[in-house]
Every structure is written in structure tokens, then in C-alpha cells.
Symmetry: C2
Subunit: 441 residues, 2 copies
Amino acid sequence: MKKVKPISGFPEWLPQQKLIEDAYIARIKTVYESYSFTPIETSAVEPIEVLAEQGVTDKEIYGLRRLQDEDESIESRLGLHFDLTIPFSRYVAQNLDKLKFPFRRYQLQKVWRGERPQKGRFREFYQFDADLVARDELPLCCDAEIIGMMNRAFRSLMIGPYTISINNRKCVLGYLQTLGIAESLFKDVLIVVDKLHKIGRDKTLVELGLEGVSDLQANKLLDWCSVKLNAVDFLSSKQDEMVSGLEQIGLKELREMLSLVPEDALGNIIVDPSLVRGLDYYTGLIFEVTLPEHPNYGSVGGGGRYENLVSRFSNQSLPGVGGSIGLTRLMDLILSANLHASIFPKCLPQLMITVLSEEQRSQCNKVAERARKYGIPTEVFYKSTRLGKQIEYASDRNIPFVVFLDEDGQKIEIKDMKLKSQTEVPNFDEWCRHLAGTLCT
Amino acid sequence: MKKVKPISGFPEWLPQQKLIEDAYIARIKTVYESYSFTPIETSAVEPIEVLAEQGVTDKEIYGLRRLQDEDESIESRLGLHFDLTIPFSRYVAQNLDKLKFPFRRYQLQKVWRGERPQKGRFREFYQFDADLVARDELPLCCDAEIIGMMNRAFRSLMIGPYTISINNRKCVLGYLQTLGIAESLFKDVLIVVDKLHKIGRDKTLVELGLEGVSDLQANKLLDWCSVKLNAVDFLSSKQDEMVSGLEQIGLKELREMLSLVPEDALGNIIVDPSLVRGLDYYTGLIFEVTLPEHPNYGSVGGGGRYENLVSRFSNQSLPGVGGSIGLTRLMDLILSANLHASIFPKCLPQLMITVLSEEQRSQCNKVAERARKYGIPTEVFYKSTRLGKQIEYASDRNIPFVVFLDEDGQKIEIKDMKLKSQTEVPNFDEWCRHLAGTLCT
């Protein structure tokens, strides 16, 4: 006998938890579909050189090896994907002549990262992405559509308040130019700024110094980063008129985009200059979704605009914008903080048929078949043990209704387990039709 | 720019094909749920020693390695699962005190096998499993439930006739005993018999000879294997009274099980003594589903009873029985043979709002929001290019209805793209409510 232990970083849910996850998935899917997004799925693996181009060295990739293979020539070039954006870009480039543009797609798949597992950070987890890619030109209304849709998706989860922090890469790059910081330092400076909210101002100043940023520059930069405005205030401010260059372009883009976001979303949006996001394929809008009542959980969603990602695999210009919901992290939080009050997962099972004797089983099966025709999840007890034991099982599994047949299978009685009442049901089909009408889907 | 090519054995569908796959998934899920099965999902990886115990050496396992890791101590012990039965067994053993028994679960996940890709055989593919596990004792009615449910699942797909070939491991083992073949040869003999339908009788006789089986024994065995009966004939035959020992036990089990299978399933079932199935964790019933009109595709489903699989990970006795549908192989066949006439995938998208000018876009967004409230998949065209181009796109994407707003956004006209008629819609909400009622889900 092999003693099995859970593998750290690879979470698994119990059946009742999986039902809750499925219910949240259905809500997000409904929102994505209401915006006309269609599903795709890509293979779990990609050639390493597709995954590991510039800007992804901060993700730990799981490579594959065939255990029975001496010649590792093929599989050693494959790795598990660590996000869905890069596989999506590769898929678009590969199917360029078969897709219609603008192409809206959603994608729910697991991704893998060989990082050290922590609270809310896993090695295997679901991402639920939606992206919009166009040929040549992608107007800012597409950024607004993604932000509006993400707002709608998080609202549909009903797990309390959420904040969508937004920024534009051009703003911070523009301000670094204004400060006179050398372009060669930009990447490392952004990596430090990205840690600001984790390590605090003092440590960030020290680290910026180590990167070659002067004290004055570093202080100015962090002051600039600290000015956060909610979207409504941002729209009524004249920030973009007071600056110039790339920073101004970024602010103007944010303004134009926000003017197209539905009004009910604006209250959840904060413009946060310190928002950086690690992956450097983003070129304009970036955003992150957090839950203010659960600050320790970090972001549960994010995304942005990428001008050149698909272009990596195609000689055509295909800018894109998209967002991702960190479903597994969200589920971990929802389950541990008991946030799923609004979820009534598909009520499974509904009906159990008791079995008096093995001779009666075929009769019981036929009654079950009748109920299933109405879509009622039904099981026949697997043994003809004493009725008390059968009812106990139904009670343990929260099965609301239990059926009893008399010995010749003509008379049907049904026990309502909640009301503890048992009555004869002369018209079983009618009873089933009625129950089916009350089932949540 | 990196030129990307598909990876052999890792199939991907186009969006319209993925919608069809989703529709088939929904049908199978509906059947599994109607039998009170609940979903679980296990991690994609297992410790190698969980995957690679006895009887699984015929599957090629993909091991993991962390690219950035010098110390491969942890990840080198992990591999991608190659089926869902072993992970399920491990999951049951691990959550023994949190599950209710008999435990019915379904599980739809990808599995990976490093085999040479062929027509209908992939390296990454979906399996859609349903298993039933009990404590200590699992009556034969559970085997009948699985066969009945698989029959229902394949019927729900509406892709033409299917055959469920069944056998009982005890029959062939018993007959090998009767023939006086040494027990030490059983495993190798079964491996040869398993290839019978592929390599033909003559080659099989030769190979049996090489394994040390006498000519007489080999001929008797293959004669015995060739007697296939449909389930109705099997039930009216007295086969089990003419034999003894383990073979008789196997035949009696098949008879008892078939007597509990719904009548409408019997016509699809054939008792086939030559059916072996490679994996040797099966101990009683084994079955395979094939499509007689597509003989080259091999089996599209299968399963059986395993007395000791969960027991590998727990000191308790937990016999199980289950089946698996090879969804990806099935989809490959359905798509290439155009069998999906009965599928009307969720009609996505439904409505497109044209945009006269960027000033009008916010108005258009609001109209879209109204339609989405009724669950209508709606998109707003992403540019305010000339209307002809916008309508062309809607036509390309098969969007059935296109909305036009007048300049101040008060008047709504809708073009029915199929009828090519355009009319003013004074009450847009009423129109949406009507459309929503006609949408397939």
C-alpha cells in the first residue's frame, strides 16, 4: 500500500466545492458570452522557445521529458504553459486565415508555474481569460470593453467589493524620461517599483539607489507613484494638460478609455501610477483587480494591452487587449472565507429510490428512469439492506426526496426529508414535472 | 518572428469546433448528472510512483522537470496523468473520511501519453469518466448502472449506431485454466489475444506458440474467443450451465448484470470473449464502445470493474466500476466525418450594434447593455468605419441581427440578416425579450 500525500501547490476540491467552482465558472462564462466572446482551448504544452522569449524569465516553466525515451530530442523542447496569453497569441498567428477579426475569445484552462507555493499562490491553477485581437489597429474602445466586461464579471460573482486598479505603461515610462533616468535602467527600475506595496517606501528607495537612481529621482518617482485617483476624480482632473511627452499620451489614453467605460464601473476603478505588472509584453493599459476586504490575497485578476505579442509569431500587426481572472486563487479565498452565500450549486442529487429486495431492483430502476427523463438527478440505492440504513445514507448526502415502492412496485410513496413527511404519490410523472420545474440549474 | 507549427498529437479546435465540443460535453454531463454523479477534478500531475505501479508500463508517461531548477529532487518525481482512473483512486483514498459511499463521480480532464501519434490517437486528449466506488462490497447492479448510463450517454450524442462489447475477466482466465495453460503465461497470453482483431487469427496463433501455448490449446482458445453473442441471445442461452469454475462465475456475473441493464440498452450490447483491454487493474466486467460505421477509429469508450485499485492507496477495501468516453478521439471523428448534424451549438453571437461615429459609441454601448441584460450575446463594432464594412463583418461572423441607431440614438432599426429586411423597433426591450426566448442554450 502506498501512502499518498497532497502535492504542495496542486490544490484539489471536494465534490461539493467543485460544484461551487462550476457555478462561479458558469457566471463568468455568461458574462464573457454576453459580450460575444467565443471559447477556444489550446494544448497544455508549447515549444519552450514559444514560452521563453523575452520578458518571461520571471516565470518558472515546467519542461516535459518522456520517461521511456532515451532520445529526448522532441519532448525536451516542450513545456507546460504558464499563462494563456502567449498560447492565445500563438494560436491566433497559427489560424490567421481561419479567424474573423476583431477576434474575441475566452479561454478557461489550467496553467503551471514551478514557483514556491504560498498562501493563494499555486503551482497549478485555473486562469479564465478573455482577449480581443484586431488586425493593424485596435481602438481604445476595445480597452474600455475589456475593463467594462471585467467589472461585470466580478460583479456577477457577488463576493463583496472589488477594486480595478488601472494604469498605462506609457505614463510611468514617460515620467522616467522626464526624470532623466537612463532608458537602460527602465526595466530594472520597474521591477523595483512593482514591489513598492510589498516592501514599503524605505526599502524601495534603497533598492532604487542600488539600481543607479539618484536620491532625488527616487523620491520624486515614489511621490509621483503615490498619487492615486478614483476614476471619477481622474476624469474631472486636468492631469494630462499639465504634463507632456509619453506621459501625456498615456494619460490621454486613460481618459479616452475611461470615458467609454459604463458609469456603474467607474466607482470601482482607481488610477494607480504605481501599478506596473511584471510581464513586459504590455504596451499601454494595464490593470489589476483586488478585493479590499481581503488585502492579503493580492490580485485576483489583471491584464492589459499588448501591441506586439501576436506579431512575435506572425509578420502581421495584431494588437490585442485582454484580462484574466485567477479562478483558483479566487476559489481558495471564497472557500476559506466562506464568501459563497450567493451560490446555489446545481442541486445534486434530488431523488433516491429505496430497494426492498433484489427482486424489486428492476422495478426501482424503471422508476428512476422515469424521473431522469425530467432531468431529475436520481439514484437507486445499491443494496437492499434495511430501509433505515438506506434513509440514513440519503440523509447523509442531503438528498431531499426518498421514494418507496410497495412490493409489486405499483404504489409509490415519497418521503420529503426536510419536512419528514411521507405521502403516496398517485401520479409520479406529474410529481416529477413539478419537481423539475423547481430545480436550480 | 518565430514560425509556429502545430505540435503533432496535440490537437486544437477552431472556435466553431470548440462550441460543438462544448455541446457534446453538455450532453454527456447531463446524462452523468441524471444518475446522481457529482464532479471532481484532480491535479494534472501525480507522483511517478502513483502512476507507474504494476500494469501501467504500457503507457508512456510524461515526467516534469523545472527548467530553472538545478535540484531536480522534487519535480523529477512528478508526471502527467495518463488516465483518470488512477488519479480518482488516489483521490478517494486521500479523502476517505470526507466522502460518502457509494461515491459516484464524473471527471472531465485532459490526459497525456507520450505515444506515437496516429489517426485518432493523440498525446493530449480529453477523457470523460464516471466511476462508482463503494466500501467493502460493490453489488453487480453497480456494473449494470455504469453500462446503462454509458448506453444513455452514447445515445444522447446522436452520432449513429454504437456497440458496447462486454466481457468478464474471469471468463477468459477461467478458460485458460480449463485449457491447462500455466498461470505464469496468463498475462502474456492476454496481451497476444488483445491484438487478435488487429493482426488476425494466423499471426495470433504464431504469437501464442512463441509464448509457449500448444497448437491445440491456441486453436481451442481462438475458437472460444470467436463465439460472440448479442446480449439478448446470451441471456436466453444456457452457456453458464455448460462450464464450471472461474469461467462459470464470470458468465453468471455477466448474466446477472445484463438482467439489470435497461431493455433499450440490450440491443447495443455484444458479449465478446476476445475482449481483453490492456490495463490489468480490471478484475471482473470489462467493456468497450465502438462505432460499427467507423471501424477504423477503434474504441471511443470503455471501462470495467476493479476490485483493488483504490486499495493500492488505502488499507480499506474499496471496489469500483466505471467507464470513460474518449472525447477527443470522438470529436476528431465527429468533425472529420461531419456527424454533428444534431448539434446546434449555443448561438453565439446574436446581435451587433453598428457605430456611425465615435461620438455615438457611448449610446451604442448602452443599447448593447440593454440587450445583454436579456442574456443576448452582443457586440458593438469596434470602429466607426463605413456601414457597408460593418455589415460585411456581421455577415462574415453569421451574426443574425444588426442594430442601427440614428444620430441622436433615439431611433433603433434592426436588420434581419437572413431575411435582408430592416425595420424600426419602437420597443427594443420587448424585442430583446422575444429574441432571448428563442435562443438555444
